[in-house]
Symmetry: C2
Subunit: 461 residues, 2 copies
């Protein structure tokens, strides 16, 4: 079981490849060693709790034990959450359950529940989902690290009302995932005797997928939570070195940072060539964007822009831009060695050239050839890329990948000179929202919001 | 029925807003008039077929009539297609069918079929979907403008074999959408008497959603194809002016181009604040990226990078980067006036501050306040944005939006000095793929691919 990282196409070696000069990579070794020391110091000071999750058997047991008791009781599990509370569960579902899981029959799902994630407050989506559910067979998992996220509280208020109207007890159909001691959800849990699992105080939302935030929906829907954690533990050990080219998280972070800051490659594409890894890209986008898109202490705005892609699909969409557009991107491929269940392309219409060459190959072979062809074509045109290869997409490798990108992001924070753990830029929008909804204590924000320039009819068409 | 575009927050008016100087907008009027003339000339020369689709009643009738005859025959419709053949149907499904459509029961869907889109060749996805379907009640729609798209041909070969194994006649379970005269699919249709609908030769894949590419899945699943076309027709008429500030497609294109080329705002975020419009962003990404990401005749690589976002969800993901990261982005919001089916947030736990302020508001109100708060916060921090507001999300407005962005893209081609209708950058990867699969006539490509620098163990970890 392993994940390899091949950065050959991202380094300008002597044979004429485009990329980061070897000397620049060598020159960054000391800088990386400092980043790794900083991570160790932060960890020692207790602020990088996600690194401790694989060793926290008691916390993992919270999810596994709750799921064991819930087995057979629910046909639908609905996660209420947004941002880090939703993206991890979505990535896990896409990676580890069959495609179209929620559209399958109970028999096809072998009795495991469907897994829905409500990651927005759009009334149309929430109304349609609630109308389609049998509430008596539904468990709502309300996830908020702070315990007070506005969108999630609004969803919860709607759900608790529907449950009450249906005569169903809250504590039988709701479970919270939140801070062990603080916040509104914890207070409600204590008062109403609603089961509540913990997000450790030192684990931030976007770093929380290996806590009950991700593990509870995983366990509830039949994924192997222990294997996820074993993969994460293995990767944490592997990345416990300040030797740059032995540390995949470090190499990923340093090369992205060099590409951005020395070559203007400020757009970092993550492009899985597996449908199962499609939503890992969305999870990564949050992690990379919200952690590194910051104002430095000196006042400079920095941070790469991550964008999601999917192979081979995006060869018919974004790849034209990657091949010929501005030299402002890196592409990181995600793939696996082979396929668990490949499909041979049957021979038919062999006299027609556009079909004849395909016969006898497999769909998986086609997908893999396309990945190598795209990487090769990018290299030929002087466009750098790198490739992560997983043995396979399973719980172990997904856990390892979550840990790898989490660690890489902490290194990125040091390299970019920003705090990867906060998100001060979203505060202003929250204040304006609270002010407009009449929440007490936001008079100043209301006044500021009302004083913003109004829409100008001259510029409305 | 209307779509308004408010660019107030994208123009630096006298009251101190950040954005494009008014003089620059005024100065671009002549340039835009030239772009519009160019569009008219291209249209007159016959190469902008998508503009003629709303007036092509016979073509629209192909989809509507086929769907009428198919009513009640199929429980599942599966689109086989990639890129422009898939993104339009996906955007339509998300916009115009209820959330979770494919997971609903037959009764909940009022007998209309489920709508699946296979937009990749991953064997896991295709295998899982085919295993879950009752083929006797399934219609496969095979979409390829050229009639020979490799991924789609591979999917089709698998499907035709499964149908044959089940003893089902191809012509009862397959419909093609392709060029009326050319290509492999047309040849097979003629030989096997498989029904085939037309994509006009002068309508490119990513501009084809208003042809049977989008209209057939729309009609098959119960959407109003005529209303889609009426909205598109209305928008085409509205954009038939070279007066910049009366033309929403022109204003959108010109301001994005000015933001990119005069202010370095090369990343164009499309951020709907409606779940229904979520996949319009993915459709737009293809259109904008593949049309404008090009090498100019003079050799310069140009083109903005579009990225998708979703409000309020991305306030907990990408918005931190948009607020504090580099000044290299514009944000375009999509929203509507109100909500068709809003949900009031019930009063409960009113003594807890994090929930108390929400009671009595509605989910829709919360979503809309968040959109205005985000736009306001961006403006306050000197980050430009603009907002499209639809009266509502329905067939008419979706048709209008497709047409608006299509026209804007043609203007964009003229402004950026590139041909928005081709995609030469993806050719090399295709050649390498054909070569590796042993297709005849690709010996030179094979030799070139094999000569590319190999993976270097020093750079693999």
């Amino acid at each position: 079981m392993a994940i390899t990282l091949d950065v050959t196409n991202l380094v300008a070696t002597a044979d004429g490849r485009t990329g980061i000069p070897v000397a620049a990579v060598e020159g960054a070794r000391a800088r990386f060693a400092a980043a790794h020391s900083h991570l160790e110091a932060q960890h020692a000071s207790g602020i990088l709790g996600f690194l401790d999750l694989p060793g926290n058997a008691a916390l993992t047991a919270q999810s596994v034990d709750f799921a064991a008791k819930a087995t057979g009781r629910y046909r639908d599990v609905v996660v209420l959450g947004i941002g880090g509370s939703a993206l991890g569960p979505i990535a896990l579902r896409t990676a580890l359950k069959p495609a179209g899981w929620n559209a399958m029959s109970d028999a096809q799902r072998a009795g495991w529940p469907r897994l829905h994630v409500l990651d927005n407050v759009d009334p149309r989506t929430i109304g349609a989902l609630l109308a389609s559910l049998d509430l008596a067979g539904t468990l709502f998992m309300v996830t908020s690290k702070s315990g007070g996220t506005g969108e999630t509280m609004a969803q919860f208020l709607v759900v608790q009302d529907r449950l009450a109207s249906a005569g169903l007890a809250l504590r039988d159909h709701v479970v919270f995932v939140t801070d062990p001691a603080k916040g509104a959800l914890r207070a409600i849990a204590n008062r109403e005797k609603i089961p509540a699992l913990d997000v450790p105080p030192n684990v931030g939302g976007r770093f929380s997928v290996l806590s009950p935030v991700g593990l509870l929906p995983a366990a509830l829907s039949g994924m192997d939570a222990h294997a996820i954690m074993a993969g994460a533990a293995d990767m944490a050990t592997r990345c416990n070195t300040d030797d740059l080219l032995k540390n995949p998280a470090g190499t990923f972070a340093v090369l992205q940072w060099l590409a951005d800051t020395t070559q203007g490659r400020r757009i970092h594409v993550l492009m899985p060539y597996r449908d199962t890894l499609r939503d890992m890209a969305a999870w990564f986008v949050q992690l990379w964007a919200e952690s590194l898109g910051k104002i430095q202490p000196g006042g400079a705005s920095v941070g790469p822009t991550p964008i999601p892609a999917l192979g081979a699909t995006d060869q018919h969409s974004q790849v034209q831009l990657f091949m010929e557009g501005p030299q402002d991107k890196t592409v990181t491929f995600l793939t696996t060695i082979g396929h668990d269940a490949d499909v041979t392309i049957p021979k038919a219409f062999a006299d027609i050239e556009e079909l004849g060459y395909l016969a006898g190959h497999s769909l998986g072979e086609l997908l893999d050839v396309e990945q190598r062809a795209t990487a090769g074509a990018l290299a030929k045109r002087g466009r750098p890329s790198m490739t992560f290869t997983l043995d396979t997409v399973d719980a172990w490798h997904i856990g390892a990948l979550f840990m790898l990108f989490g660690i890489a992001t902490v290194y990125g924070g040091h390299l970019y000179g920003v705090n990867p753990l906060d998100q001060p830029g979203v505060e202003l929008g929250k204040q304006y929202t609270f002010a407009k909804l009449g929440r007490a204590g936001y008079d100043a924000a209301r006044a500021e919001f009302e004083s913003l320039p109004k829409s100008d009819p001259r510029w409305v068409l």
